[in-house]
C-alpha cells in the first residue's frame, strides 16, 4: 500500500486525513471521556445528518450544513445542560433522533434523484478531496492550539470544575467552548469514519491510552498514536479488501482495545 500512497493522489489525501484526524481524535477523545461527553458526541454526529440533508435540499456544501446544524445543537444542549435540571441524556437522545429525522425528511423532499449519502453515514476516507484536507488542516490546527494554549485550565476544568470556578477560571466559557471543539472534531471526523461510526474514534484511542498511562500528557500522546494506528491499519484493510474504510477502522480499534484490556487484566 505504501507504493500506492506515493502513486495515487486519493490515497495521499486519505493518508493526510488520517494523520490530521488522529491528532484531533487523540486529543479530543481524552477531553470527551474525562468530561463524560461520549453520548453528546454521538448525538452531535447524528444531528449533523439533518444539516447534510438540508444542504442537499438547498444545494450548498454538505459539510457546512453539518457544521451549522451540529454547532447550533451543541450550544443549545450546552445551555440546557447548564440551566436545566432535566437529565442531559434526554436532550441528547432528542437531538440525536431529531437530527436523523430532519435529515430523512430533507432528503425525501429533494425532487427526482435521491443523492447517495452513504459516505456521510459510514465514512469513506478514500473520497477525501484536497479541499477536505485543507479544511481538516485548519480545523485540527485550531483544535490543537486551543487545547495546548490553555492546557492547565483544561486540566483543572476537567478534574474539578467547582474548584476551577472558585479560582475564578472562566468555567462557563470552557463549558461552551468544549462543546464547540467537540462539534468541530465530529464534523472533521465524519469524512473518516462517518456519522454512525465516529463515536468509536472519539472513544477507542483515549480508552486504549488510559490502559497504558496515568499521566495526562502521556495519555494525549498515546491516544494520538493509537488513533493513527487504528486509522492506518483500518485504511490498509479497507484498501486490501475493498470494503468500507470507516467500518474497518472501528473493528480494528475495537480489537486492539479488547487486546489491551485483556493484557491489562493479566498484568493486574
Amino acid at each position: 500500500m505504501f507504493s500506492a500512497i506515493l502513486e495515487y493522489e486519493f490515497l495521499q489525501h486519505a493518508f493526510y486525513a488520517i494523520v490530521l484526524g488522529s491528532i484531533v481524535c487523540g486529543i479530543m477523545s481524552n477531553l470527551i471521556i474525562e468530561k463524560k461527553m461520549l453520548m453528546i458526541s454521538g448525538g452531535l454526529a447524528h444531528t449533523a445528518y439533518g444539516g447534510i440533508g438540508l444542504a442537499y435540499l438547498l444545494e450548498f456544501d454538505p459539510t457546512a450544513g453539518a457544521l451549522a446544524f451540529s454547532l447550533c445543537s451543541a450550544l443549545f444542549i450546552a445551555f440546557l445542560h447548564k440551566k436545566s435540571h432535566v437529565s442531559n441524556d434526554i436532550f441528547i437522545a432528542l437531538f440525536w433522533a431529531l437530527g436523523m429525522a430532519l435529515g430523512i425528511i430533507f432528503i425525501g423532499l429533494i425532487p427526482g434523484y435521491t443523492p447517495n449519502i452513504e459516505s456521510y453515514l459510514f465514512g469513506n476516507i478514500l473520497a477525501v478531496s484536497g479541499q477536505d484536507v485543507l479544511a481538516m488542516l485548519l480545523l485540527s490546527a485550531l483544535i490543537v492550539f486551543c487545547v495546548f494554549a490553555f492546557y492547565k485550565d483544561w486540566q483543572i476544568f476537567l478534574f474539578d470544575e467547582e474548584f476551577a470556578r472558585l479560582q475564578g477560571i472562566a468555567v462557563n466559557f470552557y463549558h461552551y467552548f468544549l462543546y464547540v471543539l467537540v462539534t468541530l472534531s465530529v464534523i472533521l471526523l465524519i469524512r473518516v469514519a462517518g456519522i454512525v461510526l465516529v463515536l468509536a474514534l472519539l472513544s477507542a484511542p483515549a480508552a486504549s491510552a488510559s490502559l497504558c498511562s496515568r499521566n495526562f500528557t502521556g495519555r494525549l500522546a498515546l491516544s494520538v498514536l493509537f488513533s493513527f494506528v487504528f486509522s492506518f491499519f483500518g485504511l490498509w484493510l479497507s484498501y486490501t479488501l475493498d470494503i468500507s474504510s470507516g467500518a474497518c477502522i472501528v473493528v480494528f480499534a475495537f480489537c486492539i482495545y479488547a487486546l489491551l484490556l485483556v493484557l491489562n487484566r493479566k498484568k493486574a
Partner: protein, 276 residues
C-alpha cells in the same frame, strides 16, 4: 469582624427544601463544626456559601457579598474522579490558577516550592510525582487540603475532610487544622464527634433548620431534636441507640460497659457490634 454572616438562608432542590431560614454569624478566628443527619443540609450550607447552589437570603464573607477571593473550599473527595490522569503536585499547583484564562501558563519555582511546603506540612511530599489514582483515601484528603491551603484562604470551608479515612490520618488532619486555625477561620462539616471534642471551638447543628449554635457541648436534647429520635451516638451520620453502653476494646478483644460520654467518643474509633 464576622468572617461569615448568613441571614435568612433558604435552599430548595426542586420542591424539596434543604435549608430553611438559616441565620448564622461566625466570628473571625472561629473553628466551627457543622453537625447534622445525612440530608440535613450541612454540605448544602457550604455549597450556598461558595455559590454552587441557588439560594434566597443573604451571605456575606468578611463583610462582602459574592466575594469568594478569601474563601478556600475543600470538597468531599467522593465528588471527584480519582482515576483522572493527574499527579499530586499538579493537583496542588492548580491552586496557582486564579485568573479567567491562562495562556501557555507555567508555574513559577516559588509556587512549586510553596506547593511542596504544604505537601510536607501534611506529610505527603514524597508522593508529589504519584498519580492520584495511587493514593489512599487519607492521602487524597490531605492533598485536597494542601491544594486548598495553597490558595491562602482567610475562611476555610471543609466538607467532611475525614470521611472514610483511618483514625490516624483523621487525627493528623485535625492537628494540622487546629494549628491553621491560628491564622484562619475554619468551618467544617463533619460526622466525626471526636473532632468536635478535640479541635472545634463552636458547633452548629443542622437539620434543615439551625437547631443549635454555640459551645461544642452536645446533650441528649440537641441530638434528639437534630435526628428526630432519641439517640445516644452518631456513626457515619446515622443516629444509633446504645443498648447498653458497650464498647469493643480492640486490644483485649472484649466488650465492656462505659459511661454515655465515654461511649460517645469511643464509637468513632471502636464501633461495637452491640450498637444498633
Amino acid at each position: 469582624m464576622k468572617a461569615l454572616s448568613v441571614e435568612n438562608l433558604s435552599v430548595y432542590y426542586a420542591r424539596h427544601q434543604a435549608l430553611k431560614n438559616i441565620n448564622l454569624q461566625i466570628e473571625e478566628g472561629d473553628f466551627l463544626g457543622i453537625l447534622g443527619p445525612n440530608g440535613g443540609g450541612k454540605s448544602t450550607l457550604i455549597k450556598a456559601v461558595i455559590g454552587s447552589v441557588p439560594y434566597t437570603g443573604r451571605i456575606e464573607i468578611f463583610g462582602k457579598s459574592h466575594d469568594l477571593s478569601l474563601v478556600g473550599y475543600m470538597p468531599q473527595s467522593s465528588d471527584l474522579n480519582r482515576h483522572f490522569p493527574i499527579n499530586v503536585l499538579e493537583v496542588c499547583l492548580s491552586a496557582d490558577l486564579h485568573k479567567k484564562m491562562h495562556f501557555f501558563h507555567r508555574y513559577s519555582h516559588r509556587v512549586k516550592d510553596e506547593a511542596m511546603e504544604y505537601l510536607r506540612l501534611l506529610g505527603i511530599e514524597h508522593l508529589a510525582k504519584r498519580s492520584i489514582s495511587e493514593l489512599s483515601g487519607g492521602e487524597f484528603q490531605k492533598l485536597l487540603l494542601a491544594r486548598t491551603l495553597l490558595t491562602k484562604p482567610k475562611l476555610l470551608l471543609l466538607d467532611e475532610p475525614t470521611a472514610n479515612i483511618d483514625p490516624r490520618s483523621s487525627e493528623h488532619i485535625f492537628e494540622v487544622l487546629a494549628d491553621l486555625n491560628k491564622e484562619m477561620t475554619i468551618v467544617m462539616v463533619t460526622h466525626d464527634l471526636s473532632a468536635v471534642a478535640s479541635c472545634v471551638k463552636s458547633i452548629a447543628c443542622l437539620s434543615q433548620t439551625l437547631i443549635y449554635h454555640g459551645e461544642p457541648k452536645l446533650n441528649a436534647d440537641i441530638l434528639t431534636q437534630m435526628y428526630g429520635c432519641p439517640i445516644d451516638l452518631i456513626a457515619h451520620g446515622h443516629p444509633h441507640r446504645v443498648l447498653p453502653y458497650h464498647v469493643h476494646d480492640e486490644e483485649t478483644g472484649e466488650c465492656y460497659e462505659m459511661s454515655y460520654d465515654e461511649a460517645k467518643h469511643a464509637v468513632v474509633k471502636n464501633p461495637c457490634c452491640k450498637y444498633h
